[in-house]
């Protein structure tokens, strides 16, 4: 047997002090299997050792929240006895190494988190960040990641209804693949992971265990170096077909009352599922590892415990219900094995053919997991960029066309057309709008879903960036007419061991917390992904927000497409012409500078509530929030989506025209209406800033009566970039 000492512990990523703590918990030299278990449980990925202190500051409560962070996914009440279960999760490192399988297994993992809780997944989203389009790896990564996400979601039959995709050189060596799943369950039939009932059988179901992905969790917690390619064999291969069977089988068994507790085997596989189930229930678990269904001969206890083979679940059943459960899993042609039982020892005891290979007290393993208060440095503040410091373009519509045809603003159609976004026949708003809407099956109500983050704001000013990400997600939900309910978040950062990076993290979390509290938009689940850096180059801080909202009546929603000719275009919110950290500055002037636009959460809330009322009351015929690229980009998107043109007039404000058009002031929306007078009056009553800025109609976009461009020309430029880029060698 392999000897365990300081050196083997270090190879497992445990520091000297962590190893000492482990020795004192065990009171003897640990076995290699025990070391493996400690190392994955204490990895950043499983223990949140660098982030926990800060995550605790986030608001997680609200009358709608049934279950906040801590379980497999968050749960919120959506009325009619139903609950939405949702979470987002990263699969960044595996996707960089093997884009297809990395992204595919990411989707598989997050869907298991959701159906483990008893919910049928109804929608998937994906937030992607790639390196510069010129980087030699980018095209291959985009192609593989998108195919992998589609390959898994399409097969399983859950629609992928939206997401984000951006390019920036900061992700050259470390792409981000964040996948989100939303499911629906009966509110009184949520399944949790706390094991209970000493003597109850512990059951393994799903695929067989192979040698794949051993040490995936520790990999997710280490930064890349030049020989990461050598670590390749740890990549897991997913089988969406088996996951579909597992989903159906689990839901079928969940319709009975045979299950006491259930937990998917995600990162760190059988180890984390066993330890977490025991810990949450305050009980012990004894497993007979030789009963584990294995794919290969001669697998050691260490390998069985650390394998990250996909499409597996661990359950505790009520006594005597094994055969009923077995019949269901056999019907779905899945493995089923009783591999152990719940005990009252408070220990995880693992045996292989009667020999004890691990015997660990659960509470100290979990409670003594290291927590760090890492040193952090605040990000230096930046000066704003005044509109006068930016040269006015000759024709702002040329700049608009250039922006719409740029990698970060062009249409994402090439991506979403590879995703089945309509299966389940409940997609009421397809990708391409502000938020997607899926109908709650069998009703006329719906869930609105979005993901958002503007990393360049987060980099410039983490706290503002964190607030803005939440505000934009909230705004996207409002813009379709939904009531925002709650959010999930995926915090993607560089190494927490570097104070400036930790400072970005602290700032973003603080901004997220402030915005979530102010907007009654609690955090119910999330994921942290650190060490997103290569050879010391960190990614932009990227705290992706996944937002969920409720639509009470699908007939009372709005879309981005202009609804009709000759309607008034109303701008909600205040325009100062804020160009700092804007898309305009970055893409047109190639300047990455300036403070990002401030986020006023009080105004944000007032404007959003007003806009939502205008939509559900039927006054607004279309709606789009103003985000990246500013007002004119929002209007162009509304025009391109409908084929209807618009004529815009800037009011007399003294703001240079280009700043008025491209500034990224927050809390703004564009609405169209047949009755602008009524809308302005209503706005005034609510103290909301609103003004008529133009009229829909024709087939061109015209600004100030001088500059004009055809909607078709804009659309051609907007649609062309991504397919052309991907078709190039």
């Amino acid at each position: 047997m392999t000897e365990v000492n300081q050196a083997t512990a270090a190879e497992h990523g445990l520091s000297a002090s962590e190893y000492d703590t482990m020795l004192s918990i065990m009171g003897r030299a640990p076995t290699i299997t025990e070391l493996g278990i400690f190392s994955v449980m204490w990895s950043e990925h499983c223990s949140y050792k660098s982030s926990r202190k800060w995550l605790k500051t986030l608001p997680t409560k609200g009358p709608q929240v049934i279950c906040g962070p801590g379980e497999n996914a968050g749960v919120v009440d959506i009325g009619d006895g139903l609950a939405a279960v949702f979470k987002i999760e990263s699969h960044n490192h595996p996707s960089f190494i093997e884009p297809y399988q990395g992204a595919a297994t990411g989707v598989g993992g997050i869907m298991r988190d959701v159906f483990t809780m008893g919910a049928r997944p109804v929608a998937n989203m994906n937030a992607l960040r790639f390196g510069s389009p010129d980087h030699p790896k980018t095209r291959h990564l985009v192609s593989g990641v998108v195919a992998g996400i589609g390959g898994y979601g399409n097969c399983i039959g859950v629609p992928t209804v939206g997401g984000e995709a951006n390019f920036d050189p900061a992700y050259n060596g470390n792409i981000l693949v964040n996948a989100m799943t939303v499911g629906i369950a009966k509110a009184d039939k949520i399944f949790y992971s706390a094991a209970a009932g000493p003597g109850n059988p512990v059951v393994y179901v799903g695929s067989k265990t192979g040698r794949d992905g051993i040490h995936g969790a520790t990999m997710a917690s280490a930064e890349f170096d030049d020989d990461s390619e050598e670590k390749r064999p740890t990549v897991q291969v997913g089988d969406p077909f088996t996951e579909k069977l597992l989903l159906e089988a689990c839901l079928e068994l969940m319709a009975t009352d045979a299950i006491v507790a259930i937990q998917d085997m995600g990162a760190a596989g059988l180890t984390s599922s066993t330890v977490e189930m025991a810990d949450k229930g305050g009980v012990g678990v004894e497993l007979n590892l030789e009963k584990t269904p294995v794919r290969e001969e001669g697998m050691t206890p260490y390998e069985i415990m650390l394998s990250e083979s996909q499409e597996r679940m661990l359950m505790v059943l009520k006594p005597g219900r094994e055969e009923e459960a077995r019949a269901i899993f056999e019907k779905w042609e899945l493995d089923f094995a009783v591999i152990g039982r719940v005990t009252d020892s408070g220990r995880v005891m693992l045996k292989m053919k009667n020999e004890t290979v691990a015997d660990i007290p659960v509470a100290p393993l979990v409670d003594a997991a290291p927590i760090y208060d890492r040193p952090w440095e605040p990000t230096p503040t930046r000066a704003p960029v005044m509109a006068s410091q930016s040269a006015e373009p000759e024709n702002p519509l040329d700049a608009l066309k250039q922006l719409l045809a740029s990698p970060n603003h062009c249409s994402r159609r090439w991506i979403w057309e590879q995703y089945d976004h309509m299966v389940m026949a409940d997609t009421a708003q397809r990708p391409g709008g502000d938020a997607a809407i899926v109908r709650i099956h069998g009703s006329e109500r719906g869930l609105a879903i979005t993901t958002d983050c503007t990393p360049r704001y987060c980099y410039a000013e983490p706290e503002t960036g964190g607030k803005q990400a939440v505000a934009e997600a909230w705004r996207n939900l409002i813009a379709v007419g939904a009531t925002p309910l709650a959010l999930t978040n995926n915090l993607n950062f560089g190494s927490p061991e570097r104070a400036p990076i930790m400072g970005q993290f602290v700032g973003c979390v603080s901004g997220i917390g402030a915005a979530a509290a102010a907007l009654d938009f609690p955090v119910v689940s999330g994921n942290v992904s650190f060490y997103n850096e290569t050879s010391g180059e960190a990614i932009l801080p990227t705290p992706v927000i996944g937002g969920l909202g409720l639509v009470d009546d699908l007939a009372q929603t709005a879309r981005v497409a202009f609804a009709e000719q000759d309607q008034a275009i109303v701008l909600i919110g205040t325009t100062a012409g804020w160009l700092g950290a804007s898309s305009y500055l970055q893409e047109i002037e190639e300047r990455r500078e300036g403070a990002p636009p401030p986020v006023d959460l009080v105004v944000e809330k007032a404007n959003g509530s007003f806009v939502r009322e205008q939509i559900i009351g039927g006054a607004a015929s279309s709606c789009h929030d103003v985000s990246d690229g500013g007002l004119i980009v929002a209007i162009a998107e509304m025009a391109m989506a409908s084929g209807i043109g618009a004529a815009i007039e800037a009011p007399e404000t003294g703001i240079p025209l280009h700043a008025w058009l491209f500034g990224e002031d927050q809390a703004r929306y564009v609405l169209t209406t047949a009755d602008p007078a009524a809308m302005l009056e209503a706005a005034e009553m609510c103290g909301v800033k609103a003004s008529v800025i133009g009229q829909t109609g024709g087939e061109s976009l015209t600004v100030g009566g001088i500059h004009t461009i055809s909607v078709n020309e804009l659309r051609g430029a907007h649609e062309a970039w991504l397919p052309e880029y991907m078709a190039a060698p």
Binding site: A147, N154, C155, G157, T242, K244, E417, D420, H421, A425
Partner: protein, 230 residues
């Protein structure tokens, strides 16, 4: 109309088609598990879309060898109308109820989007709800929808009026611009000799309800209900 929907491991449009059938006929279809060896007495059988057996080996290949397919085949040969959508179409070709095969899309990518198809002939039960030459907007969602058969087979399909739907442009032109996947002669759906078996790649069940953003698929099901009532 009493109908049956066959459910294979990996089917994922079985619920969608059941909803569309119930909406059109007022009666929920019988959901028949692939391991059954005989079907209940029904007027109409559907093989739904999805990824039966993960689409491994070839789309529909393994499902076509399921126990239930022997009875489906027998019923089809006895004249019970059978509809195969997407993966269901692939299964029908694999079992030989329809000629040809669906190969990988010419663009080598999964495609999910609205396409336009024209109705060749409205004298069949499947197309009775449409006008001849009508252009429908219906979504596709597939990786392997590129219809292939040898020229002789294609000629025979054409001359016997067995091409049910062809991909077109929005204004009904049959040309490459309207062909999403490289299918021979823009074929989106075909009949058997008696027009009692239809296989098609587009998903009519995804556009039966205003909430879907289109209702062009509804005519297939309302037409069927009416035709089968006679």
């Amino acid at each position: 109309m009493k109908s049956a929907v066959i459910v294979f491991p990996g089917s994922n449009c079985d619920r969608d088609i059941a909803v569309a059938l119930e909406r059109a006929s007022g009666t929920a279809p019988a959901m028949v598990w692939h391991r059954e060896t005989s079907l209940p007495a029904v007027d109409f059988i559907v093989l739904p879309g999805g990824f039966s057996y993960g689409d491994y080996l070839r789309g529909g290949a393994i499902a076509a060898r399921s126990p239930v397919m022997r009875d489906v085949e027998a019923q089809a040969r006895a004249g019970v109308p059978v509809l195969g959508i997407c993966n269901g179409f692939q299964i029908l070709t694999e079992i030989g109820l329809l000629p040809g095969i669906l190969m990988r899309n010419a663009g080598l990518k999964f495609i999910c989007r609205d396409v336009y198809v024209s109705v060749a002939d409205n004298r069949t039960a499947f197309t009775a709800g449409y006008a001849e030459g009508q252009v429908l907007r219906i979504p596709v969602a597939h990786n392997e929808g590129n219809y292939f058969a040898d020229d002789e087979t294609l000629d025979a399909l054409e001359s016997n009026g067995r091409i049910a739907f062809r991909y077109t442009t929005p204004d009904g032109a049959v040309c490459d611009a309207g062909n999403p996947n490289g299918s021979a002669r823009n074929i989106a759906g075909i009949f058997n000799e008696n027009c009692t078996v239809l296989g098609l790649m587009p998903h009519p069940e995804r556009v039966v309800d205003p909430a879907h953003g289109g209702t062009d698929g509804a005519g297939m099901f309302t037409g069927l209900v009416e035709a089968l009532a006679q």
